[in-house]
Amino acid sequence: MSRIGVFVCYCGENIGRTVNCSEVTQRAAKLRDVVYSVDYKYMCSDPGQQIIKDAIKKYNLNGIVVASCSPLMHEKTFRHAVVEAGLNPFLCELANIREHCSWVHDDKRNATDKALDLIRMMVEKVKKNLPLDTIKIPVTRRALVIGGGVAGIQAALDIADGGKEVVMVEKSPSIGGHMAQLSETFPTLDCSQCILTPKMVDVNSHKNIKLYTYSEIENVKGYIGNFEITIRKKTRYVDDSICNGCGICIEKCPQKKINSEFNTNLGTRKAIYVPFPQAVPNIPVIDKENCTYFKNGKCKVCEKFCDRNAIKFEQTDEFIKENVGAIVVATGFDLYSIEKERSDNYQGYGEYGYGKDPDIINSLQFERLLSASGPTLGEVTRPSDGKIPETVVFIQCVGSRDKSKGIEFCSKICCMYTAKHTMLYKHKVHNGKAFVFYMDIRAAGKNYDEFVRRAIEEDEAIYLRGRVSRIYREKDKLIVKGADTLIGKQVEIAADLVVLATAMLPQKDTVPFAQKLGIGYDKYHFLSEAHPKLKPIETNTAGIFLAGACQAPKDIPEAVAQASAAASKVLGLCSNDQLEREPYVAYVNESSCIGCEFCLQSCTYSAIENKSIVNSKGELVKKVAYVNKGVCQGCGTCVSICRSKSIDLAGYTDEQIYSEINSMFV
């Protein structure tokens, strides 16, 4: 038997001005099953809440309708009050007679009638409300960080410093990411290695961090608080538990002329190698493709010289399982490949001749030329003949902001690093001339615009506003044809070196990776945040967070900030043994479920699984749907898709909604 109380709020004059609250209260008292009805000036105030609490006890109410403002405003307030009076919070509903009634209507009669309608609907609904319990999920209080670039490193260190265990997985042989490849960083020109390598060492030596390099995520199962991760530890052919990183194997390897990925193909490495001297961990990898032993069956020089017997040619991929409660994705970015179309429909810039002429390079290659640890030890020379370039042309927005090439977004960091490049170049080649073709200079950030001005005013970089149509060689020079739109003329510059500021793209295999994790991605395959403004760290899958350039182009401070934010989310999640969440989740009526699996397909969150029902002899009776309450987000799509009406959504059950509809019009 329902005993409903209706509490009508004036909200000062906000409701009372248009809605005749006392009339509404009186009429509400006559509604079926309403045993108590009262109005008050400010129902959300302390005395207002006290009225509700007292009435619940006095009239033994088992359903509460507060006719006031939007539930998005004060539902929590009133439910809290209801709990204090000993009632289940989900037996309290709000009738929105302010935002949806008094504020939007002028006519008193209409508004008053409508207010009563809204109350009646809620009275009918609340009769069908069931007491619900918040859902509690156990939490594995450790985290996985995917990606060992600066974002991943920061997130891992923050979580580990917060006292929780971290598993870090990095696909390449060393952590460090793109930042390890950079020379100096804007806007302070401090050396990238100097600020990053200490953090890399910290990761390796931190007692709370378990580091898997040269490893990839094979599989992800489970849900927030309870993920089960399978990690594929790729074959290094070097036993990392024995190797002490002495480097004799590298020294003795006869295969010398392999393009070094770390040096963006401007330098070489051996077939057994560490990507760069400061690599963490300092354990070599054998490049199977180029190893003489793997190609010809003979050599094994490294094995002979290794006095610890750490070389293991018979090693195979290893699979490791780890349980974590949260995941930080920090997989970073990739560069747009200028010379050719990628498989994903981006059109290249054939007219710029990248890949055809060695003196046309991309910005990351220029970073390596500038870097003191780079292939030229920091001397800026042309890749073709080692000459010091006297004129360098920098072209911004190569790929970015170019609809016809498939990328409409701004890569954000190129304006800044190009300004940095002109400065560093000028600091090394004093008589050199740096030209920059740009579309707009986007230097929004602390000390950023000042930095660009310095490049122009102090280091005399010549900025030309316009695009380049073509680059071609004429004898010793590269002719750069472009437009200077500020003077309205075409310009031709004879350059020694051309540097293309290429667009940032997500890592190549982001789509299958995102599908593995069950998180969203945008049309460029950047990973999607749950809300562009209010949930920039979360993904749509609870318990998985984003950090760094995998979400969108970002510079180092932004990537680090987001990483720390993700770490704080993880620490928040891991600070409790159990998670609590609203109980608006789907549930299945197993006796009527026909096991058609429509709901399985419709669920965005893969929250629905199959469950077998067996009899006492262990024989299969039937298969039914089963909702994982930890994963279900409560959208209700499965409910409307169910043919046998066997699945329903707590808080928004069919019964509740039909009751609203049936009482909507009198």
């Binding site: 054939g350 149509s469 071609y472 060689r473 004429e474």
Partner: protein, 300 residues
Amino acid sequence: MNYGYFPGCSLHSTAREFNISTKAVCSSLKINFTEVEDWICCGATPAHTTNHDLGLALPYSNLQLAAQQGFDTLVAPCAACYNRLKVSDFEIRKSDEKKNRIHEITEDKTEADISILHLIEFFKNDFGIEEIKSAVKNPLVGLRVASYYGCLLVRPNEIVNFDDEENPTSMDEIVSAIGADALDWSHKTECCGAAHAIPKTEIVLQLCKKLLQAAENSSADCIAVACPLCHANLDMRQNQINKTFGTKFNTPILYITQLMGLALGYGANDLSLQSHFVDPIKLLTRKNLIPQLEKMNREN
């Protein structure tokens, strides 16, 4: 596929050799094109620079003719005709209001749902580069060809989009297929000055000089074109350029179909090679690339 052929005015006059060589190539490759009956001028540059509707109506009435004659695809060798036909088709598909207006102007309500191909586009996408390759009897080994696309063949990209508008390669693919060396050169899509040849000749001379210079820098033996106007400017005015600038260019300008014709075994006369101002025959003879037709006929 029922292919209609739209030669356009140039191919019946100044660019006769383009028409002749196209027909020769098609007959050798057993390509069946039927010339659209009663076709009219596409309007070229004069029409669209004087009146927008006229610039759309002239090409469109050709499309209507083609549709009435049962063609579903129209192939145009002239880059300008191709461009005008494509633009007209694009604009009219976009807006019903425009279509109705043009229907009124042409006094014809025929819906012209026709796809328009440039000859090169046809060879590349419909016929197939591999097929051309396998039909070659006289590979043009050692001939260094700079393929010149000009403005109209590949631009604007949203309307004519069979190739990269900044760095097109389809003509180069054909050049490679017939055994010649396709040069990656700098001025593939620079403008030749086009119709400025009449009112402001000096512009054309200046631009064509740059083109010829760039071709020479890449050590090209000849330039391949697919546009009658590009051809006229580069070929007919080469002497004038030499006089004006004191240069010594002697670069034959050949239609891509003439090169294809040579590779398919036709002789100089069959392809009207003698009708150019800059004589290509000397070059081709020196390189031993003109097939001896009589000899080949005997062998067959």
